[in-house]
Symmetry: C2
Subunit: 853 residues, 2 copies
């Protein structure tokens, strides 16, 4: 610490590192070094501030002489990082009887007295710790009794000060400065400030530097004033003028803070600096551009104007929306102001998600009705409807609608396609509604348990008694889970060139592949627009929910006899094959990982009485028989029941059919394109290696049959979705039969915690708020618990099979922290829903860059 | 191997270890050493038999001379362990023209010829491998054409032999013996025999010794014959005479196997050895008693009688039922014939379970209707009823009944109390029916999906169309899962002195404590009859199912307002306190571990329309409100939902009330008895250490409040039920707040496998049969997967807190293999249902003894 002076003048020749003097000192030094007009200033080091807080009377060193010059000074915070906060600025230090007299000559007595009285008040309050209310009252009494006379007010304030503290107000600028510095240092190290700081993510014992800077006097015949400015549009990042300017030349009122405020750029709503003082505006633009180059970022400038000359008091990164963040990062890199790495690191991954979806204008005012679980991002408004049919009818009328249901069922899918958003009273982030909505890219809020749906009257009620009927307009914000009355302004998504450029750059750095979860050919096409590295998870069950197929599926499920089941499977085969053909064609040249049927069969069963009746008719079975069979298929805990590979082993015809469909499709597509198709076939819900051995055996048999029949050489791999803790522990054994493992961290988290995502909604928010869980483990992977299972699995699997493929598919694949974890774990890829793929690509690149550095 | 001769004479002076010569050789040597009359014999070593199988012509060594004496010999198997099986005996080796002539002088030509012809047949078939059917036909043709002339038959057989094999039947006894030995050795090493052997649990390449023994000629003027005898009752093990005897003195017919068969002891049904040849019978009793002492076990003797003298051909452990096994083990130890350790090791743990319950007479004949999941052992018969009310009505009429339901609900409990057995069509081994039935010690079969219940007609149908109506008699065998028509004979349980003696002995050896799972004071009293070391799991939720409480519980659940909820909890408090008072009084001096409320609240909700209506009345709420709230509480996967500590944190009043009830009860009982009560309070379904920290904090607060109010010093510990994989992984952190951990391996298995016990029934049998799972992991702990989680947890917990208490509570606590695993793991105790405690005690002792040795 010795080599850094306690108080150093900011000259632009010596570097003042943020580590010792705080970020503001460092930046002012850089600006000064490049010749920008920055008022004279001194940096007080973190070490000195710490000493001050401990009670040391500071040796003001070079400042001492300066303070005797009868000018005014500000003291501003200079924390190590901008967002760590700290005490607010103290202005006009050095003001005393003598200084007032000097200044009165330049600016007139009244303004000088005004400044003096304000300084006494702020010093009394912040430094001497006199009661704010008492001071307020005193001013009010004085002004009421004697009019706005600053001279008399000063006398009264000085008297009050002396009465309260038994000593006169300090007339020595050096004493004033010492006391101000000490007070600010103590504030920084006080308990409240420490807690606040911690809440902002700063270390609890973070240090603070301070800046003592000449006040720029608003005097002279030319334009004078203060303001802040940024020349980048908040929302888009491309261009624009933001900020405010208070001209002190525009009349006396301005000194008391009333009036003189104007726009920077020309504006129909009122006067602007551009009109009033165009040459000042030009200076400001020029200085901002210089600061941008020096700081290699779009900046927000704080400035003073003295007699037509602009002084730069501070420069900081410009405020920006998510979209602007991307635009700025790319533009700075293109301008050579930062490297691609720096550009990639500067973007918050969530900003990409914001760009993908419509969202509510940050400036809009609206009323939140209730909050549910944010299940699929984006915002949309529409008229409330309560049934899939009504949603389709709305679509036919070209009306936007929001489908409100207790929960959705597979037969609601067409209605969901027709809606602009989905709101359900029940369910969690993997409920049917949530999964489908994410696939469709629709805003979705689930588990909004406050809404009480009355289907008969076609309306829903809120706990406060408000009611919304079919046709009333509401808006869903799927990013926050807020249900909003009416239709606030929405901002359209815009996948600008910068978005794609940034994503292209990720590929130069990331080690981790990013695949998409895509269940249908249309999902795959969507995924392709985000240029993913393949499909990491094709959930074949979603292929069976289309109307014609659902019936065949149900007939398969209800079959009593093997031949009836086989007949139903034979009908499903060509449909599955057609899906896979389209999938392989869409993804030619990229890997496609297909998961064999996973969910409990009862998910395919008819729910409504009409559907049950129509199935009974289709199958020529008595209604009671259909109902009985449906009852038989009910499970106590479907997540933990007869599903996944257990289904594959219990009803082997299903997997045989699926394997055949995959291979026949591969053969067909590779014949057409002349490219080898290498499907990856994934076995779900494995808990014992024998399960893998058996299924792989059957798949191999089907493969050789198809090979014989088509004459096409097939290349494929068979792997395992690691979803149970036991599969993770036994990964070494499983790897003997599995060519790849893909971690299904949704289920793995459910099982490690003994917690169903669909039921967790009841208490998860309370749990996270109370810190019981540090984070929702379904959003960000629980590195400590679930993560350890992954580590165990990876190391055992690699030991057993050196070249084993390793990936992760599940919601976590789109979460930045989880992506970083996967990178460290040495996985080959993550797979997530297409809309999260951009985030995953960026996160993967960021991790790789940080890891390399 | 060199020091063991290929063929050694059994003299009684040199030991013939079973390892080299098989068990029969070793036993015959021991008997001979003690002077028992054993015919001269030779042991062929395993090594020699292996060489024979490879084709070596054996050097008969000492046997060679013996074989020239013109007598007859048998060759019998002598495997290393009795139950490994092997080729059947070959008799009368050495028979040839010359021997026949010698024997004819003693027994007459016809008998000698008969023996000769039979030997030729058996040699032709077993050694020369001629076709059995051909030989059969030849005998039939001969006898039909020429009458029963053995001389002519011999000629025909010898001719056939020579025709078929192009060589004459061997007349040289040495050649015969060499060929017999070789044939037997080859049979043992053949593929079929190897597979059979493996099925019996023998190593696939196990060796076989052989015994060559003099045939005892049934000649002389006194009593002659052959037989087997044991003087222990099969069923009880205390005394009795079993076996059969074929007297050759009783007429010529006996030589051809017809007639001469008689009882051993006096019997009203026919002649007996005791009557016909009392001195032979006395010899037999005496020899058996001697063999018992020599072999230190009750024995089954194979014997020959020659001219009134009994020869012992073989002695083996007597056959016995489970109950007899216990009786014999204890009696032998009491007689000083074996150590207590040996006695404990000799009893199969399952034998104790058999003794605890009524079971079907092994001799009974009956018809199995269908098989379900064996959920609670014991057998009972009764008339079919279909409702709890009908069961209570039956009980009122003093009629036994079997309650047949689709599944049972909490409100069925009174009906279950009234029934003699429970049969459900749905559910698994932890369904409500199964849990309650095990607690009541009632036979129970669940998941009998074949039965189709028609409640309206009050009958159930089977797939074959048979129907059983209310009032029809059926029997349940809860040990096998068999549903039986009618009422076969049942054997009553008899906890004899031997049962208790054996259990007392376990305490001298076992390291592992055995506690009982007991939910109510009556459970605790039952547990005390099995002298357990405490209560390892008191599931408090079962206390709320009694009628008066269920209503208060439901009011608590349905409460909208905090004060309504508190009012309901205030009503529950004295009831809970009374339960705990009784529990602590019953268990004074022993630890009692109480688990705070665990199950999802919806389990307490009314199910039937009447119940829902009556709750609506009790709470003065509209029916729709009650229905709606019940709907709200439904969970997708109740096992993984809002339950356990999540409930405790979400509705903290419940745990506060329970902690208060526990402490107030402890204070009351310790005041009364003057003994410190040290309740153990267990937190269920933990997945994060913060959960433990919070609940422990609240429990501590309640404890000090009660301490203040009662003036009683309270000692207690707070611990965690480790049921989630994550809790196992985080055991080190959790141990910071938990004074003990108890592994809930039921849930841990469910979560490690991702498999609900209640749903596993659909495929578990098929899975185990196909070897997908080596065993049902809910029966015997999966050491490989779940076991690793336990190992991780134990080592991390011990590292964090050296004196941490460690136990296991769950069905596995009553499974011998799992108990052994817990012993190796170094747990302090296992806890299981009271009826399984005896098995656990024995298993714990066995493991400790084996571990020590």
């Amino acid at each position: 610490m010795a080599e850094y002076a306690d108080i150093a003048e900011i000259t632009g020749t010596a570097t003042l590192p943020a580590e010792h003097y705080g970020i503001r000192a460092e930046i002012l030094g850089k600006l000064m070094a490049q010749g920008l007009p920055v008022p004279r200033g001194f940096a007080v080091s973190k070490a000195a501030v710490h000493q001050l807080a401990l009670g040391t009377v500071p040796d003001l060193g070079p400042l001492k002489e300066v303070l005797k010059q009868g000018a005014l000074y500000s003291v501003r915070r200079s924390p190590e990082q901008r967002n760590w906060g700290g005490p607010r600025a103290m202005l006009n230090i050095g003001m005393c009887d003598r200084t007032r007299d000097i200044m009165a000559r330049e600016m007139g007595l009244e303004r000088a007295n005004d400044l003096y009285s304000r300084f006494i008040r702020s010093y009394s309050q912040k430094v001497a710790r006199l009661d704010e209310d008492d001071l307020e009252e005193l001013v009010e009494v004085e002004f009421t009794n004697r009019g706005r006379d600053y001279g008399r007010l000063i006398d009264a304030l000085l008297e009050f000060y002396e009465d309260e503290l038994d000593e006169p107000f300090p007339q020595d600028p050096v004493t004033q400065m010492q006391q101000v510095l000490r007070a600010v240092a103590r504030m920084w190290e006080g308990t409240t400030a420490r807690i606040l700081r911690q809440a902002r993510g700063a270390p609890i014992d973070a240090g603070l530097g301070l800046i003592v800077q000449d006040m720029v006097a608003g005097t002279g015949s030319g334009e004078c004033g203060v303001g802040s400015a940024q020349f980048t549009a908040l929302a888009t990042g491309v261009n624009g003028t933001h900020g405010r300017y208070i001209s002190e030349s525009q009349g006396h009122d301005s000194v008391t803070g009333r009036g003189g405020e104007m726009f920077l750029g020309r504006d129909v709503r009122g006067p602007s600096m551009e009109d009033v003082a165009p040459e000042v505006f030009a200076q400001l633009q020029d200085l901002t551009a210089q600061a941008r180059e020096i700081l290699r970022d779009e900046v927000l400038i704080q400035f003073s104007v003295q007699d037509g000359k602009v002084w730069v008091l501070d420069a900081r990164p410009a405020e920006r929306s998510g979209r602007a963040e991307v635009e700025i990062a790319v533009q700075l890199a293109k301008d050579g102001l930062q490297s691609k790495e720096a550009a990639l690191l500067s973007v918050t991954p969530g900003s990409l998600t914001e760009m993908l979806h419509r969202h509510i204008d940050p400036k809009a005012k609206y009323k939140v009705l209730t909050q549910g679980i944010a299940a699929s991002p984006g915002a949309n408004c529409g008229k409330v409807v309560f049934s899939a049919e009504a949603a389709q009818a709305s679509a036919a009328r070209d009306e936007n609608c929001i489908l409100v249901r207790s929960e959705t069922l597979p037969e609601d899918i067409r209605g969901m396609h027709s809606a602009q958003g989905i709101l359900t009273a029940r369910g969690g982030i993997t409920s049917h509604a949530a999964v489908i909505a994410r696939g469709l890219g629709l805003p979705c809020i689930v588990g909004a348990s406050d809404i009480d749906i009355d289907l008969r009257r076609k309306r829903f009620a809120l706990p406060d008694g408000r009611k919304f009927s079919e046709g009333d307009t509401i808006t869903l914000d799927g990013a926050t889970g807020e249900v909003i009355a009416g239709a606030p302004d929405l901002i359209e998504p815009d996948l600008s060139g910068a978005f794609n450029t940034l994503l292209d750059w990720t590929d130069e750095f990331r080690k981790l592949g990013v695949r998409a979860n895509a269940d249908t050919p249309s999902d795959a096409r969507l995924a392709q627009t985000f240029r993913v590295d393949g499909i990491g998870l094709c959930r074949t069950e979603h292929m069976f929910f289309e109307p014609g197929r659902l019936t065949a599926m149900r007939e398969m499920i209800f079959a009593d006899q093997d031949q009836d089941r086989q007949a139903a499977l034979d009908r499903l085969l060509p449909m599955q094959r057609a899906d896979f053909v389209e999938l392989f064609e869409t993804m030619v040249g990229l890997p496609v990982c297909i998961r064999l049927l996973d969910p409990p069969l009862h998910e395919f069963l008819p729910q409504s009485p009409q559907e049950i009746r129509s199935l009974a008719e289709a199958m020529d079975l008595p209604l009671a028989k259909v109902l009985g069979r449906a009852e038989d298929l009910k499970q106590y805990n479907p997540m933990l029941g007869l599903r996944g590979v257990r289904l594959g082993l219990t009803v082997p015809g299903i997997y045989d059919m699926q394997a055949r469909a995959i291979f026949e499709a591969a053969a067909q597509v590779q014949q057409k394109f002349g490219t080898q198709i290498k499907p990856e076939i994934m076995i779900p819900l494995v808990s014992a290696n024998k399960e893998v051995e058996i299924v792989k055996g059957r798949v191999d048999v089907v493969a050789s049959e198809v090979q014989m029949a088509t004459g096409q050489r097939l290349e494929y791999s068979v792997g395992v979705m690691v979803e149970t803790p036991r599969a993770a522990l036994k990964a070494g054994q499983i790897a003997q039969y599995a060519e790849f493992l893909s971690f299904g961290t949704n289920d793995l988290t459910q099982m490690a915690y003994g917690l169903s995502r669909d039921d967790a909604g009841r208490f998860m928010r309370a749990y996270v708020n109370r810190g019981v869980f540090a984070e929702d483990p379904f959003h960000s992977i629980d590195e400590d618990g679930v993560g350890e299972l992954l580590e165990i699995a990876v190391s055992r699997a690699k030991e057993a099979r050196g070249d084993i493929g390793l990936g992760l598919c599940g919601e976590h694949g789109g979460d930045p922290a989880s992506v970083a974890f996967c990178h460290r774990l040495g996985l080959e890829y993550v797979s997530c829903s297409p809309y999260r793929a951009p985030v995953a690509r960026l996160s993967a690149a960021q991790t790789a860059i940080l890891d390399r550095d």
